[in-house]
């Protein structure tokens, strides 16, 4: 891990030894760790890890920072640490308005309510197919057997790429996001860029009706996208829908494995599933983005300097006791308004409607086929991982298949 010197304007009492890739071990519950941190630490602190970052550590500050794209810019990178120059910017997320807004148009339309009606049919077909394979086995390793596979299959359908390369891409995507060595992550990103680049050339030469064709052939500010823009955009679309949805599916499933009352209730009352998903999104949010401070300013009572980098971790929002009462408790009827699992403001997740549909379909179909299941401690139990997107790397499950 690259370490930075502490800049002169950072007060000593706000420096913490925080590395987002290692701050919890694989046997530790990452949201409980955030719960300890957000309810005991300062609202904003500085870590020398990953090149030096401020870290927001309070729900209200997070909610104020997320939409404030003028103070906290995304155009110089949202990575922790930022990607090297040879990796094209991940668009549209690594861009500021109005360019960002213009770029988002085809994505917004594809992932609109009407777009998702069609995508949800594919999602249900893939979900049912995978569960029907798993259910008779009486056990599975959920992450490998379901939550890494299903979102990747859906992405490949959306962009009309055959699923032969699924395992290769799952490996790359996993390393690109979760790799604990910076160079490993960047190498995986480079390989993914190269893979998508070939498909982009085909879609430019012969556009289809898929999402990749719509994106790579769009105009922005009256000109076509450059190759770097096309590659950066498609990489984001691929990564954006994999790890995030898969991570939420795994955390949802872990919650259901540990809470028989909840899974029985939802099985008998599937109409409550959408409310349950909102509560789970609140309690188990997973994404962290980084931004750049654009001007000297005071934020949360602390002086920031132009050029400072800052992390906006959404996992802390739902576990901040100053924002939610009994924050760790999952109440299926809590109906939380304004959780930050999808962010807020202009950069809010464009895939939110699809993500909710995937989670809803997953719970409906899984609970119908595998109503009772537990975590298989004999196969090592739950393994957590942290990073820009936190999640589970192992979730062995067991149930009675007879």
């Amino acid at each position: 891990m690259e370490s930075a010197r502490i800049p002169a304007h950072v007060p000593e009492h706000l420096v913490r030894d925080f590395d987002i890739f290692t701050f919890v071990g694989e046997d530790e519950d990452a949201h409980r760790a955030w719960h300890d941190q957000v309810n005991n630490g300062p609202d904003l602190f500085f870590t020398p890890h990953s090149g030096g970052f401020w870290v927001i550590n309070n729900a209200d500050l997070l909610e104020a920072a997320l939409p404030d794209w003028e103070l906290f810019s995304s155009a110089q990178g949202i990575g922790i640490p930022p990607s090297p120059a040879e990796i094209p910017p991940m668009l549209p997320i690594e861009a500021d308005d109005p360019y960002h807004k213009a770029l988002r148009r085809p994505l917004n339309l594809a992932l609109s309510p009407k777009g998702v009606v069609e995508l949800a049919k594919s999602a249900r077909e893939l979900t049912v197919g995978l569960i029907d394979t798993i259910a008779p086995q009486g056990k599975c390793e959920f992450v490998h057997d379901f939550s890494l596979k299903m979102p990747m299959e859906l992405f490949l359908r959306i962009v009309d790429i055959p699923s032969n390369d699924r395992e290769y891409l799952i490996g790359l995507a996993n390393t690109a996001i979760k790799g604990t060595v910076d160079q490993e992550r960047f190498r995986a990103m480079g390989a993914m860029n190269a893979y998508l680049s070939e498909w982009i050339d085909r879609r430019v030469a012969l556009p289809g009706t898929d999402l990749m064709s719509a994106i790579v052939n769009m105009d922005v500010d009256g000109r076509p996208l450059t190759k770097a823009e096309q590659v950066g955009y498609m990489t984001t679309v691929m990564l954006g829908g994999l790890d995030t949805v898969g991570g939420m599916m795994a955390l949802t499933t872990r919650h259901m494995a540990l809470n028989p009352g909840h899974r029985r209730y939802l099985r008998n009352h599937p109409d409550v599933i959408p409310d349950a998903i909102e509560e789970i999104l609140r309690r188990y949010a997973i994404s962290t983005v980084a931004r750049y401070v654009t001007r000297d300013s005071t934020f949360g009572g602390i002086d920031l300097k132009e050029g400072d980098r800052i992390m906006l971790p959404t996992p802390l929002h739902g576990v901040d006791e100053t924002r939610w009462d009994n924050a760790l408790e999952v109440r299926l009827d809590r109906k939380p308004r304004d959780h930050m699992a999808f962010g807020k403001g202009t950069h809010r997740c464009p895939g939110a409607i699809l993500a909710r549909a995937e989670l809803r379909i997953f719970l409906e179909e899984w609970l119908r086929r595998i109503p009772d299941f537990t975590i298989d401690e004999s196969r090592g139990g739950v393994k957590w991982e942290t990073g820009a997107v936190l999640g589970l790397k192992a979730l062995p499950l067991v149930w009675n298949a007879s």
Binding site: N108, L109, S112, P113, K114, R348, A352, R356, A357
Partner: protein
Amino acid sequence: MVRITFVQHGGAEHEIEAAPGETLMRTALDNDVPGIIGECGGELACATCHCYLDPTLLKDIEPASADELDMLQGAIDATADSRLSCQVLVTRGFAGTRIRLPASQI
């Protein structure tokens, strides 16, 4: 303030006080009117605040921008009377109007 009525697809009505200058979406959400989601918070990015306005009223107010028309293509069951309520500002002319909501936003 002007009194306006939101009419759910099933016929249920919510008559509320709306402040001129406020968006229709914010007005509905602040009054707990069901049937409008407003997923993106008014960024013109999601089409989940879709509503149908009275055609006479529609002619009197600021027309939809090109970007709104673009995004309306993503709404379910859009018609010529459709608007995204995050882009519609309440005016005095809204007094007594009935705003119909679609069967589903998503």
